[in-house]
Symmetry: C2
Subunit: 155 residues, 2 copies
């Protein structure tokens, strides 16, 4: 599957009042190479292994494969991950037909908040809320795979 995602910085906390859901995410990487990222994630009581290819030239689409795995197996696999496990809370905010996913990071990435919106096609438009800042789609340093190696506090 190709996913089309746009990513933005977040300039205020106001999104929290608009969120219809939030949950904690723990994730690690078995590879952080931008052409073959292998991500392990526990979100709530479910675990997933996700493989992503490289971004298209405009940074908007990226091959993604995901499979749910056993949560105990995921915990064992975390032991193998590269240093730099990421912990964050994800907030979901409706935006017309789409949903913003806003990640508030902890630990080494404390202070960073990033909003992502998944579109159906590259030309889809959506309303920009007040709390949405500069677009950072395709900027590799904002990839979670990179945040685990070069966290926000060291920028």
């Amino acid at each position: 599957m190709q996913e089309i995602e746009r990513k933005f910085l977040v300039v205020s906390e106001d999104f929290k009042n608009e969120a219809f859901k939030n949950f904690r995410i723990k994730q690690g990487f078995l590879n952080t190479h931008p052409e073959r990222t292998v991500r392990l994630r526990i979100t709530g009581d479910k675990a997933f292994l996700t493989i992503k290819g490289k971004s298209s030239k405009n940074g908007l689409s990226r091959f993604e494969w995901e499979k749910e795995i056993d949560i105990d197996e995921a915990e064992a696999l975390f032991e193998l991950c590269e240093p730099g496990i990421i912990e964050k809370t994800r907030y979901l905010v409706k935006a017309g037909d789409f949903v913003f996913e806003i990640d508030e990071f902890y630990g080494e990435n404390e202070g960073l908040k990033v909003a992502e919106i998944e579109l159906n096609k590259e030309t889809d438009t959506f309303e920009k809320p007040q709390w949405l800042g500069r677009e950072v789609t395709g900027e590799i340093k904002y990839y979670n795979s990179q945040l685990s190696k070069k966290p926000y506090k060291n920028w």
Copy 2:
């Protein structure tokens, strides 16, 4: 699961007469790091994703996690693999209660033949057939993950 495996070179073709089965394997790697190898494999009409941790100090045991995946998805994931897809024929030969897996490599690894035996515990013994050569257990250059990067013909 921990796997206990011993690996040997193969000094003749005689194993082929003793094999009760053989099949073709195509495999690639989404990570070749010895502490977190991520392997994609198609064998016959099945596909698997396998994650291996680092070897124990004596090289005999290694954490391994494996999941069957859809074969079409596997073909798509091959596009993301590191350069150096490995193709080989695997022969199975009985050795008492155990089974030797002998891999005959093609392409860049033409000429290399390696036999592996999976044991239940590190102290298990087995009879060594005539065609079995020097033990190479734990020698990283014989890992398939390394053969894909530094193939036999360049040794």
